[in-house]
Amino acid sequence: MADPFDAALDLLRRLPPSKTQQNLNGIISLRPDLEEDLLSAVDVALAVKRCSKTGRDYLCCDYNRDGNSYRSPWSNAFEPPIDPDDAADLIPGGRVRRMEENLNTAVDVYRELYYEGGTSSAYLWALDDGFAGVVLFKKSTNASASAGKGGWDSIHVFEVNEAAGKRSAHYRLTSTVILDLGLSSQSVDNLDLAGNLTRQTQADLSCGFRDSEVELQHVVNIGRTVEDMETRMRNMLQEVYFGKAKDVVGDLRSIQPLSEAEKDRAAHRDVLEKMQR
């Protein structure tokens, strides 16, 4: 019999992506023992919270969560506050927090360039031989039912292994985009296109020659890797959502009568044969 954790992931890959959160809760009610593993492995649409200290919105995921509290990247404090002993372990300081602040500044610029709105957040945490983190973006649009409404959530989780001497590092990135689009009009009562794609990449990149450069170069390297990946994934999403889905419907049913399509193909073959003679 299949491993229950693998079965849970397979199930969530098959059931309607618009109901991933609900189905995740359902699976956890069946198998409470899988809760922690599933919460860190399954990406769901991001929740937005407002930082009470700065008034700025930030995004919530498993990586800035402790119980029911979330850490704001702007204030670096958990809301509601957590036990001070836990906070000492979970709130980054020093080099990691400096890089986190810079990364938030940088992805905020990126967000404005590419999303022209929406919300972004970045979180970092220390590892034994480097650090890891996540960059998050969320944007919703609600023009009108007939023009369509939609939501984009992207979740970029990365690990940075620094070489001895810190002059270069190995970056591994796993990116998921959750894209939910809907249309409701007179001609098509309802059209829902919802889903998520996940892709991975990795690279060895230089981190500069002076110690003072390394922290900023990490931010640049992470940012550029995320930008490349997100741009690639946007093209893939366009292809799958609007190309593939349409083609598959066309495979199910042909608008052109199949007998006419067959005549066209026969005529085409004829032309080709004559040209080859």
Partner: protein, 270 residues
């Protein structure tokens, strides 16, 4: 809060086209005891998705639906005038029995079947259809069509379902189409769409009904293709740009300087 049994039943009922057996295998791995009591969920799935089954005599196929269901997991097929029993978990049939057509519209029913055979073969590479007296209103006939295309090796599966009611005394036709597409290569993308067709008069008998259905469905499919365009050109583009307004990628080295300029995003305020 849903019970565990309701939870696993909802997994079965929302299984994508052609992937019921995968979903059931996952449920068995997660909740073996609840997986034993899924018979009502299988029945609901098979009837809602218009699952086609092989007839016990090897006499072709029949569609399962709420419209041709009898008691005790039996269904009837008007084309072969037989009834049969279904094991909903395995979708296997048994115990065939003759089942005479109990409708004053038997000739019309046969003609509609022929007309649908003609029009569906012009538009669906593979499909099944059935015409059946409507169980809730035997004075009308229900027309069902289902087409599936499964390509698990390419990570996609799809199903088209058409449902129409034809009223012979008023010669009116009403109905709906539903299409469900699942794509799951390194992800999970689902397209669901439906369209209701309001009641309309169709004069000219069975062949005219067949032609009207093809016309309605052609129009729907053209509108759907336009709908993809609307979402792709409008909604999708307004979520994330392909490139910034400047047509240049971000200069990450200068991220601290962008802020000072205040001119990012075309100068618009947040």
């Amino acid at each position: 809060m849903a019970s565990k049994q309701q939870t696993v039943a909802s997994f079965v009922e929302t299984a994508p086209p052609g992937e019921l057996s995968n979903v059931v295998a996952d449920i068995k791995a997660l909740a073996p005891s609840e997986a034993q009591a899924l018979a009502p969920a299988y029945k609901k799935y098979n009837e809602e998705q218009y699952i086609t089954v092989k007839l016990p005599d090897g006499n072709g196929t029949a569609i399962l639906s709420p419209y041709n269901s009898l008691d005790n997991n039996r269904y009837f097929d008007t084309a072969t005038e037989t009834s049969f029993e279904v094991d909903h978990a395995s979708q296997k049939t048994s115990n065939p029995q003759p089942h005479a057509l109990e409708t004053p519209h038997a000739d019309l029913l046969r003609n509609l079947h022929k007309a649908l055979t003609t029009t569906s073969s012009e538009h669906f590479p593979t499909s099944s259809h059935t015409i059946t007296p409507t169980n809730t209103d035997p004075s009308t006939l229900t027309i069902l069509l289902v087409a599936t295309k499964f390509s698990p090796q390419n990570f996609w599966n799809a199903r088209w379902r058409s449902t129409y009611t034809y009223n012979p005394s008023t010669t009116t036709l009403a109905g709906s189409v539903k299409v469900d597409v699942h794509y799951y290569e390194d992800g999970n993308v689902r397209m669901n769409t439906r369209k209701e067709f309001a009641s309309r008069e169709v004069s000219g008998g069975a062949e005219a009904v067949g032609r009207e259905i093809a016309k309605l469905e052609n129009k729907f499919q053209e509108d759907l293709n336009r709908g993809f365009g609307v979402l792709g050109e409008g909604c999708f583009k307004s979520l994330r740009r392909q490139l910034p307004v400047t047509r240049q990628r971000m200069e990450w080295e200068k991220f601290q300087g962008y802020r000072l300029g205040q001119d990012i995003g075309g100068g618009r305020a947040k």
